[in-house]
Structures are given as C-alpha cells and as structure tokens.
C-alpha cells in the first residue's frame, strides 16, 4: 500500500533510518482525526506498565490528542495467537493504525499481509517484527551488547573473568545482546573467561544466579547484565564481592548503586531501551497517516549514561522506585517525559 520513496524522512532528527539502505514509506494521506490502537502482549512488569502509562500520557498531550479520535490499548498476555487475533480485530474494526509490541518477531506474517490489504499502518516497537512491510521502531539491541562489551574492554585492558547475566532464553533481544557482547569481546583479542548465568530480566532471579556464581567462582573482574541489574549489584554487596566495572541496563535502582559505589570501583555503563519508545511509535504512526515520509526501520538513540556522569534527579531518582527504567526521554523526537511524570503521578498520595 505505501509508496516506496527516497528519503529523507519528514522529521529527520527523530525518524532516523536504521541503515543507509533502509527504505522510506509514504502512505496515502488520510484525514484525521485517527483511530489508533496499541496491541501490547505481556503487561505484568514495570517496563510494560511504564510503557503503557507513557502511551496514555502521550496520547493525551493536547497536540497529539487533537489528531486522535480514539486511542485504544489492549494487552493480551504472553500468548502470541491472542495478540495476532487482537490485531486482526483492530483491522476488522477499521482502525487506521496499529502500534504493536510483538510477543514474537516472526509470527506476524499473516497479520502484516492483512493489514496491508486493509490499508492499516502497522508500527512495531521494542519487540519488533521481522519484516520489510511494517514500520519498526527500535533501539539497537545488539548495539547495546557491543556498548557494554566495549565498556568492559576499556576498563579491563588485559581481559579477565567476566560474569554475563543473560535475559530470557529464546528471545531475540537476549540473543542479540549476547551476540553483541561476545563478538566485541572476541574482537579485542584479549583473553576473556565469560561465565554465563540466566537472570531472566528479573532482579531476584538475577540476584540468586549471581550469588551462586560468586560463591563458586569467588571473583569476577567485570560484570555485564541485561535486566535484573539491581539484583546483581545487591548480590555483590551481600557476598562482599569487590565492586568491578559493570555494563547494564537503565533501572533506577541500578543507577542509584552506580552513583553510590562509583568511588569503590562500581564503574557503570547504563544504557537501554526506554519505554518511551512507544511514544515515538505513535508519533510515527500519525506521521505515516498524515502522508509524511517515514523510514521503514527507525533507529532510536540509546539512552546512555556512563560513569562518572550519573546525575541525581536527571539520570537517577533516589526517592523513586528501583524498578523504574530511567531514560524516558527521546529529545530528538520531542518526547521528554520524566520518571515522575509517568510513574509518580499521584504525589498527593505521599
């Protein structure tokens, strides 16, 4: 349905193409206001809740709200077919665009076909789709692994023993990050001894796995973890493991630790995939509906903070929840939610 055109995109600072070869789409212009749906899968973790709050907040911003006739969110749980059916239903119900955090990147072929036939704009973010036919908005997961590995290589010039706490087995996110880490470390030509454990993006699990690993391996020279970082640091503290360089995600709790123990050797690189990318996805969907040129695959900047740059009240919030993912802003897209705005709305409660 969309025309393949040449770049640049309408808002080149925000809609950054993934690579130089990325195609650009120009959808036929539709008259607003639009009906847009968000088809989320899993919801029971903080990241997703934060994402949904952000989506709602973004859709409620006056300039955005003016363009929307309806914004509907449905979470279908972990079951892929349920999410597929949800999207089918949105298509059948005549929504103009559907934004999706896909439970499985490869499973949406039939849906993409159907959306195309119906002239519905499909935008995937976070867990994106393996396709050239829908718009993907994402951070570079593999790049994240590369970043963490570079951080470790920089602080451990002679190589060493590294603990890698992985995420949920079998997901592309986990695999991409893992590959990024290993390719980068291998490329240094130094001797690395990487001990892998599974943290399942979950603090207690990561904490236990780390504690076990420390009890057996005694000492690591560096650590990298995807998710569950706060638990990993906690395990180090509990086991009185010396602080070592650490490449991890963007949880508020992790960054609190990074700021606090930097002096003792916890040199952190904290980077990740802010939940606010949902706002970019919605923005993209609206742009596409308005007939603007958008890349098929949009690369979002990583929200990176590295030692010694952790700033209280900006990069981390001592009074806020540990489970929070900081880095909720994509300034190049004009999306600037702070943590408090999203999760701390009800301050009158305190």
């Amino acid at each position: 349905q969309p025309e393949i055109v040449s770049g640049p995109a309408a808002d080149p600072d925000c809609f950054v193409p993934w690579t130089a070869d990325t195609k650009f789409f120009k959808f036929p212009k539709k008259d607003g206001p639009y009906r847009i749906a968000l088809a989320n899968g899993y919801i029971a973790n903080t990241w997703r809740i934060q994402m949904i709050q952000t989506a709602k907040a973004y859709a409620a911003q006056p300039d955005v709200a003016a363009k929307l006739k309806e914004f509907k969110v449905v979470s279908t749980g972990e079951d892929v077919p349920a999410q597929i059916s949800a999207i089918n239903n949105f298509i059948d119900s005549g929504y103009d665009a559907i934004v999706v955090n896909a439970q499985n990147p490869t499973a949406f072929g039939p849906v993409i076909k159907r959306a195309k036939q119906a002239g519905v704009v499909l935008v995937a973010f976070d867990n994106i789709l393996d396709t050239q036919d829908a718009i993907n908005v994402n951070v570079d997961q593999k790049g994240l692994g590369v970043l963490w590995a570079n951080w470790l290589a920089k602080h451990l010039p002679d190589g060493g023993k590294v603990l890698e706490v992985r995420g949920v087995a079998g997901t592309s996110v986990d695999t991409d990050r893992h590959n990024g880490i290993h390719e980068t470390l291998d490329a240094t030509g130094k001797k690395w001894d990487v001990v892998e454990v599974l943290g399942k993006w979950d603090d207690p699990t990561a904490q236990k796995a780390t504690a076990d690993a420390i009890a057996v391996h005694k000492k690591f020279d560096g650590i990298t973890a995807q998710g569950g970082d706060t638990g990993v640091v906690q395990a180090m503290i509990d086991a009185k493991h010396p602080f070592v360089p650490f490449g991890g995600e963007t949880e508020n709790g992790f960054r609190k630790f990074c700021a606090k123990y930097a002096g003792e050797g916890l040199k952190c690189s904290s980077a990740g995939t802010g939940p606010a990318q949902v706002a970019v996805a919605i923005k993209t969907a609206i742009a596409a509906l308005e007939g603007q040129v958008v890349p098929q695959s949009i690369k979002l900047p990583l929200a990176i903070v590295e030692d010694p740059n952790f700033k209280e009240g900006q990069d981390y919030y001592p009074d806020q929840s540990d489970n929070f993912f900081v880095g909720n802003a994509f300034p190049t897209c004009g999306i600037n939610f702070t943590a408090q705005e999203i999760m701390g709305q009800s301050k009158e409660n305190q």
């Binding site: 892929v80 239903n89 119900s93 949406f108 039939p110 949920v168 087995a169």
Partner: protein, 326 residues
C-alpha cells in the same frame, strides 16, 4: 419423560458450557464495531481452536482422574518442530505433519508410561516431562523463527466457502475422528471407569493401563494438533516458556468450565471445547468494553473468577451435605 431427564443429566455440563460461551460470544459480537462478520468469527475461531485442542487433550487425561501439566509444553514443542518440518512440496509437508503428530503422540505416550508403569503421580510427573519437552523445544528453536508451508497454513486458518472458519471445521473433524470413537470405545469407557473408581474398574476387569495409556498418548496427539495449528497461525516456531505454561493452565480452566470433573470419570471433550471458547472470549471482551489498559488484567481475572464460581450455584441445591464430598 424420564429418558429425557437422563439424557439431559448426561449433557448438563456440556450444555452449561455451551450456554456460557454463547452468552459471552453474543455480548462480544453485539458490541463489536464490525458486528457478526465472517472475519470476526474467523479471528475468534482461530484463536479459540488452539486452546480447544489443548483443552481436549487435557480432557482425555482428566477423565482418567489424572492431569497433564505438560500439554502446553507438548504444544510448544510440536510448534517448534513443525516450524522445521512442515514445509516444502506437498509430500514433504505431509510427511512433516505426520512427524509432528507422531512426536506429540510419543510425548503423550511417554507421559503415559511414566504415570502408569512408573506409578508416579501425574501432577509431578508431567511437570517434569513438561520441563524436558520445553528443553527440547528450546534446542530446536533457540530463538523464534522457521517457517511453514504457507499455502497449507492459509487454508487451515482461512475460510471454507468464504464463510466457515476452516480451523473450526478441522476441530469438528478431530472431534469426529478422535473423540467420538474414543468415547464410544471400550478403551474410552475404561478410561472413564478408572477415573470414576479405579478399584472398581480393576475389579471389573477393565484394561485400566491400556485405557490410561491411550488417554495420555491421545492427549499428546491432540496437543500436537494444537501445536500444528499454532504454526499455521503464526507461520513460525518459538520455544515460549510462558505461553506453554499459560496454555496448560488455560486448558485446566477450560476443562472445568466445560463441566469435566477434575476428579475424573465425568465430562466430555465437547464440553471442554466450549469451555475453551468461552475462556478465550473473556479476553475478547476487552475489545468491546472500554477499559483502562491497566484495569484489563483485573477485569479478565474477575470474569474468570465469576465464571468458575458459576458451578458453585449447584451447591445451593445440595440438601444432603455428604454430597459435598461426592
């Protein structure tokens, strides 16, 4: 006429489930922006049928007073396998389908062997085999991918005569080919009997072991038919742990909603199918009611709670409290 009273008694659970489903589905469709169109029905059917197969699988085992907590994992494993095998020329595809079904049957048979000859309690035995099946699925598909013969997949998830969802037709065919013969066979009767009273079944000289084995094995087969449809529906294979567990748990909910007694000996797979469809409609209701996204999980939980509590109303008719323990 008494004859009718008995017939009704026999079908009560199934009729209840069908009733619950129809009410829910009516609410859903009548509030759906698109109304009752072939597409809406097809979408609902494709989703519902997957769980229906797994619920049928669970039914067979539950009838013997057992339980299979690995059905979800067989479902996932066969999905992963199908994403490797069900491709290519029609002949290759057919062989692939056979292999997938045979794998499901083998997984079920393994459960049966362990439960019957190992004499292990099915709950734990199948938790353990479920882990094994998932492990194998993960070996097959370390990350999502693979593909499937798309023509076949399109046919199986499409519409027959542009009207009837093909998946529903397939479900009915499976009922006719597997469930009906099973429930009317000696083995099937022995399965019911051993679920109702194993001692009595033994005393009556029924082939208990063969019956239970058949139930577990067929459960594996049915779960693999589900896995096959999952592949047709998603065009891909994925070793998704959470969704394997979810299907197992949903299958139990469906079975109960479908009037199958978890104590064994009572109920029908047809009831369980309606139970599954009803269960799936709970999720669909989210479309037609405008819920704050954060309240959706709670809404689903509450509807589930209400649905499973419905059966409790029969309790108020019980006048002899000893029947509580029946």
């Amino acid at each position: 006429m008494t004859e009718w009273r008995y017939r009704l008694g026999e079908w009560r659970g199934t009729l209840m489930a069908a009733g619950i489903f129809l009410v829910m589905f009516a609410i859903y469709v009548s509030n759906h922006p698109a109304g009752l169109t072939a597409n809406v029905v097809q979408t609902a059917a494709n989703k519902g049928v997957l769980l229906a197969f797994v619920a049928m699988a669970q039914t067979l085992v539950v009838i013997t007073a057992g339980i299979d907590l690995s059905v979800g994992m067989i479902f996932i494993l066969t999905n992963a396998l199908a994403s490797w095998l069900v491709l290519g020329s029609p002949l290759e595809t057919a062989l692939g389908v056979m292999a997938v079904l045979a794998t499901g049957l083998a997984c079920g048979a393994l459960n049966g062997l362990i439960v019957i000859y190992g004499r292990l309690q099915p709950i734990v035995a199948t938790i353990a085999t479920g882990a094994v099946f998932f492990g194998i699925a993960l070996l097959l598909r370390p990350f999502p991918g693979g593909s499937v013969n798309e023509e076949l997949a399109d046919v199986m998830t499409g519409k027959v005569f542009d009207l009837l969802p093909a998946s529903l037709v397939a479900l009915i065919a499976v009922v006719l080919v597997i469930w009906v013969p099973f429930s009317r066979s000696l083995i099937g009767r022995a399965a019911y009997a051993s679920g109702s009273s194993e001692i009595a079944a033994y005393m009556s000289g029924l082939p208990i072991r063969r019956a239970k084995f058949t139930a577990y094995a067929l459960a594996g087969l049915l779960a693999s038919i589900g896995g096959l449809f999952l592949t047709f529906f998603t065009f891909t294979g994925e070793a998704a742990f959470a969704s394997g567990n979810a299907y197992t748990l949903f299958s139990i909910a469906s079975v109960v909603l479908g009037g199958v007694s978890l104590f064994g000996g009572r109920g029908s797979a047809i009831g369980a199918i309606f139970g599954a469809l009803a269960f799936r409609t709970i999720g669909d209701l989210l479309f037609v009611f405008d819920f704050d996204p954060l309240w959706q999980p709670l809404f689903q939980g509450v509807v589930l709670l209400v649905a499973v509590s419905l059966g409790a109303f029969a309790l108020f008719r019980v006048r002899n409290r000893l029947e509580w323990f029946g």
